[in-house]
């Protein structure tokens, strides 16, 4: 029995160690008012549970040590006590009410979604996040995708893992400090969940539904989280990274992005060379296609078909473009017409038809895509 006691002691020790080095082993305190309230609530409930545990297990172990036959203890035969049973029904009920009061207060505070300074739509895709900055009329001002940048070599132990292994992206969500940002969370394909532990916010991204979430972050910095709803093969590889900028820096960045958007729109009417299309196409392919069809185009048949010498890339070009725009309903092949603009679609089509030894011998320009899609 000493073993059990010492083991219980070790567990409690481990627990205390957990609390001591809070940032690594406990819930993060976080940086927002809400996250701190949630942390306090968590610690309150936890300590109440520990206190109840100490009392109940204390009584039990006292009994286990003293009321054993090897100590010569004779069993008494009592088997009920109405008074005791009523007491241990009512006392826990009161403790629960005491817990419910602060929990209700925090929850009500979290649901205060009004009065936002700006709105960002967060859209989950297999397996990346898209951030759309909405204007006051909820029109899309500009948007971008946020992809994992950790290399396959790091994942497969072929090179050393970086500091932010699996928690790093190409384009983080950027928001201003000290302003109330409202997020409209949704998804394109399956259910994802968007979580930033340091903000104390998490919400499921459900296709067809817009969920609301908000935060005010006082501290500029980079905050990292992950998708927390199983969303298929690369569920573990779609981190959430939010960069909180000081207000003036954010405003400057925002203005620059609005301008970039104008440049991007111009590209739609340009004519590109084979080399330009291949270079842009390779990038688009790596970001949007390679996780299923693989960098070498071989795919993972039969789930993710090969693109090397197969019918799609050798057949009529317009069918190829349509397939990419519309996707294949009922499969993992998404409708990329909703994710990429005509210039990107043209480049990736051209790339697929001319990479890995494919040689369709044609060329695809943004206007071809626009003609087909009616964009």
């Amino acid at each position: 029995m000493k073993h059990k006691l010492s083991f219980a002691g070790a567990m409690i020790g481990l627990l205390m160690a957990g609390i001591a080095s809070a940032d690594e082993l406990n819930m993060p305190v976080g940086v927002t008012d809400i996250s701190r309230q949630v942390y306090d609530l968590h610690m309150t409930i936890f300590l109440i549970c520990v206190a109840i545990g100490v009392v109940v297990f204390g009584v039990m172990f006292w009994s286990i040590i003293h009321h054993r036959r090897s100590q010569g203890h004779e069993a008494e035969q009592f088997h009920e006590s109405t008074r005791l049973e009523i007491a241990w029904t009512i006392v826990p009920t009161l403790i629960l009410i005491a817990m419910a009061v602060p929990a209700t207060q925090v929850l009500i505070a979290m649901y205060d979604t009004g009065g936002e300074d700006m709105t960002v739509e967060v859209r989950g895709y297999q397996w990346k996040w898209q951030y759309k900055y909405l204007d006051d009329d909820f029109n899309n001002t500009f948007s971008f995708f946020s992809n994992l940048t950790t290399s396959q070599d790091e994942i497969y132990d072929k090179s050393a893992k970086g500091e932010h292994y699996l928690l790093e992206v190409d384009n983080p969500l950027r928001i201003p400090a000290n302003r109330k940002v409202r997020f409209l969370v949704t998804a394109e394909d399956v259910i994802h969940a968007w979580w930033v532990p340091d903000f104390g916010i998490k919400r499921d991204a459900v296709p067809g539904i817009l969920n609301e979430l908000w935060t005010i972050v006082p501290e500029p910095g980079v905050y990292r989280g992950q998708c927390t709803e199983l969303c298929g093969k690369d569920h573990g590889f779609m981190p959430v990274v939010v960069e909180v900028l000081p207000e003036d820096e954010f405003d400057a960045w925002y203005a620059a992005e609005v301008e970039n958007e104008a440049v991007r729109k111009e590209a739609l009417s340009k004519t590109f060379t084979h080399e330009e299309l291949m270079a842009e196409g390779e990038q688009v392919y790596a970001t949007f296609c390679a996780s299923c069809h693989q960098a070498n185009g071989q795919g993972v048949p039969p789930v993710f078909p090969s693109l090397v010498g197969t019918e799609v890339v050798t057949g009529p070009r317009d069918d190829h473009i349509r397939l990419i725009i519309e996707g294949v309903p009922g499969s993992a092949m998404q409708a990329f017409g909703r994710q990429l603009d005509a210039a990107q679609l043209a480049a990736v089509t051209h790339y697929e038809r001319h990479a890995w030894g494919n040689d369709a011998g044609d060329i695809t320009q943004p206007r071809d895509v626009i003609e087909l899609s009616g964009q």
């Binding site: 029904t89 298929g232 499969s331």
Partner: protein, 535 residues
């Protein structure tokens, strides 16, 4: 005159023993044989599900991908969950019910013996189909044991249809099994065995059987809706067609929450036999134990959406499900207090079943505490879908449900086999399991709080230490269950002969029978004395 005829007939019947060879097991309608089949089947499933758990833990031993692809990893987590829930824990409890319910209520057999045979023999085929999907083109189910749509419909591998069919078969088996248990308990009790004198294992199973009857059709409904979405063009769960992916979760958890109590209520029954037996003292608060189980069963129907706090419900809904969930702590607390009061001023000894039972009370309570924390909605936003949840439900299912099953096997082993297992080996098995389970699951509380999502094949570097520890624990635990098999076989082959009342503190009608219990028992209803009532 009629009495004489009856007696003669009875004597003829008495000589009738089991068939020989395979036919005995295929065609048996005997509750003890069927109980044995269920128990061995569930152990086989437990080992298969366990191997899958070890694949998961091996991959998570360190960061990076070493052994399996993310795609296969998802198939492992999914099938581990499905097999452990539907293949290991549930059939094991049905096996215990088959062995024990007729003997404990003083009945000669289950009420519907042929259906009993059918309910068992559906299972090997159901699981044969489900496990075969792993070898199909495109792989097996990979969408988590909760199979949320549309990942499990539009985006699922083709084998999902076989999975749906297997779930239908399991559901049919469970429904037949629960009808049988209800019919046996309500109709076949010995004279004098009034409801409030029934042993608690019988009570908990009666309530569990009603839960099963209520929710298995709901599960069948939801998988049928999936089938229609996949093959017949409906859009129950497809937003683009006017359906709602969240509705899937409401229906699933309306089944799923009672389901988790289906896996724990019979455990409460088992523990309520073992603790009094080794404390040599009657169970404290029999009546309140029965009412507590009934309250938990009722509450289980109105808390389902606490699995879905992050799905985006209105504030009023969140508050309702938070309060209702917190309420469950009250009847659960009553049970823990009653067990503690049963031990208080007893004369305790610590044979293997008692060790497992005490570990159950402590570790299940820890799982209950984390459950209470999860009920607090604002905090749940941080816990939801992290390893904190994984730690929580493994604490209630492994040292909870599973430990109670192991405790029951050791406790009733002498009654079933007429032999005594080796106590030293049993205790060794206990300590290995106890250490293994805590080393595996305790650190998962920390990795979860620190932010590690569940169901990921690879993780950020700050979670490395706890995952390594967890994996070491899992292999210890896995090994100790193979050792369990050895202890059992050793007991069957070379155990000492057991007496009829193998444990001096054991009470209940089953202990008035010889050990091993004869193939046909209580062909005449026994006398229910106060001594053996509500054990």
């Amino acid at each position: 005159m009629s009495e004489v005829i009856h007696a003669d007939h009875h004597d003829d019947h008495h000589d009738h023993g089991p068939d020989k060879g395979l036919a005995r097991w295929l065609f048996t309608t005997n509750h003890k044989d069927i109980g044995t089949l269920y128990l061995w089947f569930s152990f086989l499933m437990f080992l298969i599900g366990g191997v899958m758990a070890l694949v998961i833990r091996a991959e998570l031993f360190q960061p990076g991908l070493q052994f399996v692809s993310p795609e296969f990893f998802n198939q492992m987590t999914t099938n581990h969950g499905l097999i452990m829930v539907f293949g290991a824990i549930m059939p094991a409890f049905v096996g215990l019910a088959n062995w024990l319910v007729p003997m404990q209520v003083g009945a000669p057999d289950m009420a519907l013996p042929r259906m009993n045979n059918l309910s068992f023999w559906i299972l090997p085929f159901a699981f044969g189909i489900m496990i075969s999907t792993l070898f199909m083109e495109g792989g097996g189910p990979n969408f988590g044991w909760t199979f949320y749509a549309p990942l499990s419909t539009t985006y699922a591998p083709d084998s999902v249809t076989f999975f749906i069919f297997a779930v239908h078969m399991m559901g049919a088996s469970s429904i037949m099994g629960s009808i049988n248990i209800i019919a046996t308990i309500l109709n076949m009790r010995a004279p004098g065995m009034t409801l409030m004198k029934m042993p608690l294992f019988v009570w908990t199973w009666l309530i569990t059987a009603y839960l099963l009857l209520a929710v298995m059709p709901v599960l069948a409904g939801v998988v049928t809706m999936m089938l229609f979405d996949i093959h017949f063009g409906t859009s129950f769960f497809n937003a683009a067609g006017g359906g709602d992916p969240v509705m899937f979760q409401h229906i699933f958890w309306f089944f799923g929450h009672p389901e988790v109590y289906i896996m724990i209520l019979p455990a409460f029954g088992v523990i309520s036999h073992i603790i009094p037996a080794f404390s040599r003292k009657p169970l404290f608060g029999y009546d309140s134990m029965v009412y507590a189980v009934a309250s938990i069963a009722f509450l289980s129907f109105i808390v389902w959406a606490h699995h879905m706090f992050t799905v985006g419900m209105p504030l009023a809904g969140q508050l309702f499900f938070m309060y209702a969930t917190m309420l469950i702590a009250v009847p659960t607390g009553v049970k823990v207090f009653n067990w503690t009061a049963t031990m208080w001023k007893g004369s305790m000894t610590f044979e293997t079943p008692m060790l497992f039972a005490i570990a159950f009370v402590i570790l299940f309570t820890i799982g209950g505490f984390s459950g209470l924390m999860l009920a607090i909605t604002p905090a749940d936003y941080q816990y939801h879908d992290t390893y904190f949840v994984v730690a929580h439900f493994h604490y209630v299912l492994v040292p909870g449900a599973l430990f109670s099953i192991i405790a029951a096997v050791y406790f009733w082993f002498p009654k079933w086999t007429g032999k005594m297992y080796n106590e030293t080996l049993g205790k060794l098995h206990f300590w290995l399991s106890f250490i293994g389970v805590n080393v595996t699951f305790f650190p998962q509380h920390f990795s979860g709080l620190a932010g590690m999502p569940r169901r990921i094949p690879d993780y950020a570097l700050q979670f490395a230490d706890f995952n390594m520890l967890s994996s070491v624990g899992a292999f210890i635990f896995g090994f100790s269950q193979v050792f369990f098999l050895y202890v059992i076989i050793h007991g069957i082959r070379s155990g000492q002969k057991a007496s009829d009342r193998a444990w001096e503190g054991a009470r209940g009608l089953e202990w008035t029978l010889p050990s091993p219990a004869p193939y046909h028992s209580f062909t005449h209803p026994p006398q229910v004395t106060d001594e053996e009532a509500h054990a």
